[in-house]
């Protein structure tokens, strides 16, 4: 994964637990550095190792760590020079829906600029005025909780009141990939 992801994990840990906690986590995870170059590609194993060590050190289940990271990612990328990506969309439900509908295309264009990037496939399907089904396929397993956190972060950024439900892939239920059902609260 690109270093930007590991930097986001670092930012999450440091903001909540300080620099020393991050240093200890890197050491315990067997990572020989505490700083990452944002645009450099690193092995996925480093990211998984860091998440695992954060979970072990802070005593939080990995799913909770991933969820917290997903939520933090929105804030972090907004701060680390990608604010303009979000600012193209107005605050509110329609802005969020539009953002989700264009997320896949954004990934496509990023893939062209960053050839080593392997983002997940995301497709947003409108079910009704207040419901979306988000189709999610990734070659990296187990990151569903992170998407839940991402959605929470997006709800917060776009200032919408909404919930999401993660439906993992289930052949018996006719799902060959993960889905997320987003439901917006009724206004008023």
């Amino acid at each position: 994964m690109y270093g930007l992801v590991n930097k986001a994990i670092q930012d999450l840990v440091v903001s909540g637990h300080g620099e020393q906690a991050w240093t200890n986590i890197c050491t315990d995870a067997g990572v020989d550095t505490t700083q990452f170059v944002a645009m450099q590609n690193y092995p996925d194993a480093i990211t998984y190792g860091l998440v695992g060590q954060v979970s072990a050190t802070l005593g939080a289940p990995p799913e909770e760590v991933l969820k917290a990271f997903g939520r933090h990612w929105v804030k972090f990328t907004g701060r680390e020079g990608h604010k303009d990506v979000f600012e193209m969309y107005p605050k509110g439900k329609e802005g969020l829906v539009s953002f989700l509908e264009n997320l896949d295309d954004m990934h496509a264009r990023m893939m062209m600029a960053m050839p080593e990037l392997k983002p997940p496939q995301i497709y947003s399907e409108r079910l009704s005025e207040d419901k979306l089904r988000i189709h999610y396929v990734s070659h990296r397993a187990g990151l569903g909780p992170m998407v839940t956190g991402l959605l929470d972060g997006l709800f917060e950024y776009f200032e919408v009141s909404a919930t999401s439900e993660h439906l993992p892939a289930d052949a018996g239920a006719g799902r060959d990939h993960d889905e997320f059902l987003v439901e917006f609260a009724h206004a008023g």
């Binding site: 550095t33 645009m39 450099q40 295309d105 600029a113 050839p115 496939q121 995301i122």
Partner: protein
């Protein structure tokens, strides 16, 4: 090969097939069932599996957009970028355009290669790409980006390496600094300890009965030893300052008393040379200040010493004024002055303003560093006519707490003038009611003694006995004389004998202390280490305990803590530290352990007497 030139679709497409080939040599046209109808003349080189009549998905998969399994889904994503990938991993990028009338999808795509190696692998060259195609520039941009990232990664690695090296150097510096501190402490202790014996014994002899010639010899030896001590102190002070080991404290001190003591110290020397000494301050100078009184005194002693040394006639003056919290000391003399060339290096170590004069050349360097350490500054200015002028400005905020002395009792000053005003100010600040009814003390002038105006404090109704020189007003002597004349406060001259416990592992130091204390009228018990001291202190009450710091078995700090925390008879007894080390941190350790005072070796009788006097009413000494 099925290219557009032989394709049945040109009419269906509705535009020039040759133009399409030229603009998009890698294009693909499919029907609404995703069957390939035609493709560009260069596509098959990159995607050999493509063929007319075959399904698009037989040769290519759509990486992006996601979830576009059929024509209908593709048509809904026409605003999105399309990325296609062949079986062999060759990638194409472009878009999808649905032609409703002809029911065709046109994919104007071109190879997506990021470097020359990939281009070669998929049989693509730059020349294959049309001029308008940004893919040409894209290859260069990606390369630049990769180079920039690699450069950033290398810079980061180098930074990490430098940081590790800096950490190693920092640790080494900390170790070296620690070693230097230990060395300074050891040197201070090892040199001062024998010097303590030398000066102490000579001091003792000086205060005994000696004939004239032996007295001169002892005096010379003592002065030489004191000179050696002064040089040692200078060297150690400068070492400490340069090692960053000198601390300054912030504590209340009496500025007027300090000035008075300087006047007393230098008055005899100045008089002996026929030089006038003037120590004066602005009339409303508040005496109680916050700062490091000892260091302020050290700086002023150095400057006044130089001023008296280098002045053969005329005057040496110290003038003190304030500007807010800053106290300004101006030391001026009418001496030989300092040549302009020497003045430039005045505050550097080992610089002598006048080569023919002796000295280590460290005094002004120490003054400068001390002034800076205290948050102030010192500068040399040529005197208006001749001589030298040093100006020192130090932050010493005034403390409003008055001197506890008068407690509202009345005093009469029966003369006028600026000195009377100064005396009134001092007494007023000390809580005396000047000009109040039923004065307890009267000050009257005595103009008979050598023509000087002196004031005589005497108890109202009693016969005056002792006179106090008015110029300069010595606050310490004033207090003592007032107490002696009136009986107010503890009488410093009262005779009393007590017993003092001296805890020191050095036999020489024990003997020096015992002799001095005996001279002051005390009986002395001795203990050779802290543990023995604690033992002795548990058996009987002492009037004071003198505690050495560095001792085997148990050191002075530990022994003091034991005495203070125990239930023995000396829990509240004054304990005075005897230390050869003069580090501020050692003094702090002493006070934190419960000691009352710190005496620096080598011991001198006068300092010993003053230390004991300062402890009254706990201790009363002869």
């Amino acid at each position: 090969m099925n290219s557009s030139s032989n394709s049945p679709t040109p009419d269906r497409l509705g535009f020039d097939a040759e133009l399409l080939d030229e603009l998009f040599p890698f294009h693909i046209v499919c029907d609404d069932r995703m069957q390939v109808l035609q493709f560009g003349p260069k596509l098959q080189r990159v995607v050999p599996e493509i063929g007319s009549g075959l399904s698009l998905f037989d040769a290519l998969k759509i990486l992006r957009p996601s979830f576009v399994p059929d024509c209908e889904a593709i048509c809904k994503r026409q605003e999105h970028a399309f990325l296609l990938e062949s079986v062999a991993g060759a990638r194409l990028r472009g878009q999808a355009i649905w032609r409703e009338r002809e029911r065709l999808i046109l994919f104007p795509v071109s190879p997506w290669v990021t470097d020359s190696e990939e281009a070669k692998r998929h049989n693509v060259s730059i020349a294959d790409l049309p001029v308008h195609d940004a893919a040409r520039e894209f290859m260069y941009i990606v390369k630049l980006q990769r180079d920039a990232v690699a450069s950033a990664a290398r810079a980061y690695d180098e930074l990490q390496s430098k940081k590790q090296e800096a950490d190693r150097m920092r640790d080494a510096a900390i170790d070296a600094n620690r070693a230097k501190s230990v060395f300074l402490a050891m040197m201070s202790h090892e040199i001062r300890t024998p010097l303590n014996g030398v000066i102490g014994m000579l001091d003792y002899l000086m205060n005994g009965r000696l004939d004239s010639e032996p007295r001169d010899c002892v005096s010379t030896a003592r002065d030489s030893a004191l000179g050696l001590l002064a040089i040692l102190n200078d060297i150690l002070d400068l070492s400490k300052l340069e090692a960053g080991k000198m601390d300054v404290i912030t504590a209340p001190f009496d500025l007027i008393a300090l000035l008075d003591s300087l006047a007393s110290l230098f008055d005899p020397q100045a008089k002996a040379k026929g030089v006038a000494l003037r120590v004066e301050a602005i009339p409303d100078l508040h005496p109680r200040r916050s700062g490091d009184g000892n260091r302020v005194r050290q700086v002023l002693v150095n400057l006044l010493s130089n001023a008296v040394k280098f002045t053969g006639q005329g005057e040496v003056s110290l003038h003190v004024s304030t500007a807010g919290d800053i106290v300004r000391f101006e030391v001026t003399d009418s001496g030989i002055g300092i040549p302009a060339e020497q003045a430039k290096h005045l505050f550097q170590p080992f610089q002598q303003a006048h080569a023919q004069h002796t000295g280590t050349g460290l005094g002004l360097a120490i003054c400068k560093r001390l002034a800076v350490l205290m948050g102030g500054k010192i500068e040399y200015l040529p005197a208006p006519e001749r001589g030298s002028r040093f100006v020192i400005e130090l932050p010493c905020p005034a403390l409003t707490e008055p001197l506890p002395l008068g407690e509202g009792r009345a005093v009469e000053i029966a003369f006028e003038g600026p000195d009377a005003a100064r005396l009134a100010a001092l007494l007023g600040q000390a809580g005396w009611s000047v000009g109040g009814a039923d004065p307890v003390i009267r000050f009257t002038p005595d103009s008979t003694a050598r023509g000087e105006v002196r004031c005589i404090p005497w108890k109202a109704g009693a016969t005056p006995r002792r006179a106090l020189p008015l110029q300069p007003i010595d606050q310490a002597r004033l207090g003592k004389l007032m107490a002696a004349q009136t009986g107010l406060g503890a009488n410093p001259l009262a005779e009393s004998v007590g017993t003092i416990l001296v805890v020191d592992d050095s036999a020489v130091n024990q003997r020096v202390a015992a002799l001095m204390l005996s001279r002051l009228g005390y009986a002395v018990d001795l203990a050779a280490n802290g543990e023995a001291g604690v033992e002795a202190a548990s058996k009987r009450r002492y009037d004071a305990v003198f505690m050495d710091m560095q001792m085997p078995v148990m050191n002075g700090i530990e022994a003091t803590l034991r005495i203070r925390s125990g239930d023995g008879p000396n829990r509240e007894t004054p304990i005075l530290a005897l230390t050869a080390n003069a580090f501020e941190s050692d003094r702090v350790d002493c006070f934190n352990a419960g000691m009352n005072s710190v005496l620096t070796k080598p011991l001198q009788l006068k300092a010993l007497a003053e230390a004991l006097a300062a402890l009254r009413p706990a201790v009363v000494h002869p």
